[in-house]
C-alpha cells in the first residue's frame, strides 16, 4: 500500500469530531422538550454554526455536547468518546454566553488558573501562552485589573482568551460576539480564522449571521428543538436566488406563485423591486428562469444571493406564519 493510500485510509478511520444521534432533552418531567430527536454530525476541522431563533434549543444542545446537561435519550460522541470522558475534556474549550468569571482575580490569574485546569501549566511555553492569549483578545493592557471591573465586552474577550489558553482541539463558543463592539467582532473573526487554519473544530452558536457566513464552513438550522437543515455555507449561497423585476413591473402575486410551484421552489420574499427564491439545488436555477419566462414575468436580472442565512430565518418565519394561518383555517372549518 502506498503512503498516500495509507494516510487516506487512516483519515477515513478517524471518527468525526461530533456525532449526535436521536438526542432528547426535556425539562419538568418531560413537559417541556428542549431537544426532540436531534441528529448532528460535525467533521474534524469544521467551523460549524448552530443557528436558529431564540429558544430553539441551541444552547441546550451545546450544554449536552459539553456533558454539563444530562440527556434523556440519544447518544453523543466527541472524537468517538463520551462527552464527559477526561480525554475529551482535555481537548475541549468552552466560551459561555454569560461570562461571570471569578471576579476577585485579574485576567492573568484567571488565565493561569484555567491553564492549570487544562493541564497546560507545565508546558515550556506556559508563560508565553498567557501573553499570547491576552494579546490575541487585546487585553494585555488591562491584564492586572480585577475582573469585577471589566465591562461585558471585556469579559467576553477574557472568555475567548480562556478558550485559547487550553490549546483546544474542539471549541464550543456560545454567542462569542455578544456585547462586543465592532473591533471586538473583528477580533472574534480573527480568532475563529486562526482556529480554522489550525484545523481546530469549532461549534459556534450565534445570531450574527453575516459573521457566521464569513468564517463558518457548515451550519445547522435548529428550531423548536428539532434539526431542520445541516449543510455547508457554500451550499446555502448557491440555493438563494434574487430575481429583479424589469422596469419596476411587479408581477401578479398569483402568477408568481404559479411559476414557483411549477418548478418546485419556495418564494422567500417579494418586494416591488425583486423576489427571493429558495432552490432545492443549484441545478434548479434554469428551471426557475424557464418558468418565469413561460409565465410572462419580465425580469431584468437574476443572480445567486450571498446573504443566504438571514433569508433562511425569513423562510422559517414565513413557514411558521403559514402554518399558523393553516391551523386557524382548519379550526374555522
Amino acid at each position: 500500500m502506498s503512503n498516500d493510500s495509507a494516510s487516506a485510509s487512516h483519515e477515513q478511520q478517524l471518527p468525526p469530531a461530533v456525532i449526535v444521534e436521536g438526542l432528547v432533552k426535556s425539562y419538568y418531567f418531560g413537559r417541556i422538550k428542549a431537544l426532540d430527536g436531534v441528529d448532528l454530525r460535525v467533521e474534524d476541522g469544521d467551523v460549524f454554526a448552530l443557528i436558529g431563533p431564540n429558544g430553539a434549543g441551541k444552547t441546550t444542545l451545546m450544554g449536552c455536547m459539553l456533558a454539563l446537561l444530562r440527556t434523556n435519550r440519544g447518544r453523543i460522541r466527541i472524537f468517538g468518546k463520551a462527552p464527559d470522558h477526561i480525554d475529551v475534556r482535555k481537548v475541549t474549550g468552552f466560551l459561555p454566553e454569560r461570562p461571570s468569571f471569578e471576579s476577585w482575580m485579574n485576567a492573568t490569574q484567571f488565565l493561569k488558573f484555567h491553564q492549570m485546569l487544562a493541564g497546560r501549566s507545565n508546558d515550556a511555553t506556559a508563560e508565553a501562552d498567557i501573553k499570547h492569549a491576552l494579546e490575541s483578545v487585546e487585553l494585555e493592557n488591562v491584564s492586572k485589573r480585577q475582573i469585577s471591573k471589566y465591562s461585558r465586552g471585556m469579559l467576553q474577550r477574557l472568555g475567548l482568551a480562556q478558550v485559547i489558553i487550553g490549546k483546544p482541539r474542539i471549541c464550543f463558543l456560545d454567542e462569542p460576539t455578544s456585547g462586543m463592539d465592532p473591533p471586538g467582532m473583528d477580533m472574534v473573526r480573527n480568532v475563529l480564522t486562526q482556529f480554522r487554519k489550525q484545523k481546530v473544530t469549532v461549534i459556534v452558536n450565534s445570531h450574527h449571521l453575516d459573521e457566521i457566513e464569513r468564517v463558518c464552513t457548515r451550519f445547522a438550522f435548529i428550531r423548536k428543538g428539532k434539526m431542520e437543515t445541516q449543510e455547508s455555507i457554500s451550499n446555502i449561497h448557491s440555493k438563494m436566488m434574487i430575481a429583479r423585476w424589469a422596469n419596476g413591473l411587479t408581477p401578479d402575486a398569483d402568477v408568481l406563485k404559479t411559476a414557483m410551484e411549477e418548478c418546485g421552489v419556495t418564494l422567500a420574499d417579494v418586494t416591488d423591486e425583486h423576489c427571493k427564491i429558495v432552490l432545492n439545488g443549484r441545478q434548479n436555477a434554469s428551471n426557475v428562469i424557464q418558468s418565469l419566462v413561460r409565465n410572462n414575468i419580465s425580469i431584468e436580472e437574476i443572480f445567486f444571493d450571498r446573504r443566504g442565512l438571514s433569508d433562511l430565518f425569513k423562510v422559517a418565519k414565513t413557514n411558521d406564519a403559514r402554518r399558523v394561518e393553516d391551523t386557524m383555517d382548519d379550526e374555522k372549518r
Binding site: Y27, I32, A34, T59, T60, M62, G63, L66, L68, L69, R70, I86, R89, K90, T92, G93, F94, P96, E97, R98, P99, S100, F101, E102, S103, W104, M105, Q109, F113, H114, M116, L117, A118, G119, S121, S148, Q162, G166, F172
Partner: protein
Amino acid sequence: MNKAIFLFTMKRYLHWVNLLVGGVALTISVLLWGLALCVDSAVTKELVRSCLFGPMVAIVVSYTVISPQVANSQRRKDGEYLSLIFSRPISRWSYVVTKWLTGSVFVLAIMALQTTLSLAAAYILSVMWRGHPQNIVDGYAITDAILNAFGVTALVVFIASMPQRIAVFVFILYAYAVLFLTLLVGTASFVSLSLDHVSKTVTAFGQMLYSIFIVGMDSYHVINASDFPVASAVIYLSNIALYLTLATLIMSYREFFYAND
C-alpha cells in the same frame, strides 16, 4: 486532588476582603477567649477548649468558606463558575476531595491562629492583672482539632454540594438534629442513674446517631486507650467517605449550565 483548585481556592480564602472580614471576627473572638483564659476556672477552661477545638468552630469556618464556592455556580458574583470549571479535565470526585482538603487545612489554620492569638492575648491580659493564664493546648486538644477539622469539613462539603436553597434548609435541619441528639443523650445519661436498662439503650442509640451527625472521635479514647479504638476510627473514616461520596453523587447529578435558567 486537583492542584489548580487547591491553590486558587486557598488564594481566594486569603483574599484581602476575606482577611478583613475574618480579621474583625477573629479579633473579637481572640479577646473574648483571652479574657476567659485569665479566669482561673475549670468551667471557662473547658468552654474555651470546646470553642477553639470543638466541632462548632469547624462547622462555622468551613461552612462560611466552602458554601459560596461549592453550592453556587454562575449566579453568585464571588462564586466559582462551575460550568466552566467542569468543562475542563477535572472529575467531580477530584473537585469534592480538593474542596474537602482545602477546607480542612484552612479550618486547621484558623484554629491554630485563633489559639495562638488567644493565648497571647491571655498572657498580655494576665500580665496586666498579675495573674496566670490557663494552658489549654495539649495532645488531646491538637487531636480534637485535627479530627474535627477533617470530619466536620466533609459533612459541610456534602451539605454545600446541594443547590443553595436546599443547602440552607438542610443546614438548619442538621443544627436542630444535633441539638435534639445532644439533649437526648444528655438527658438519657442523667436518667440512667436511676433507670438503667431503658436509658442506656436510648443513650447508645443517641450516641450512634450523634456519631453520624457529628463526624468526630473522642480524642481521650484515641490517646489513652490501651488498644487503638478500631471501631471508632472505622466509623469516623467511613462517615467521611460517605459524605464525600454523597457530595460527589450530588455534584454529578446536578446540571451546571445556564440553558433554561
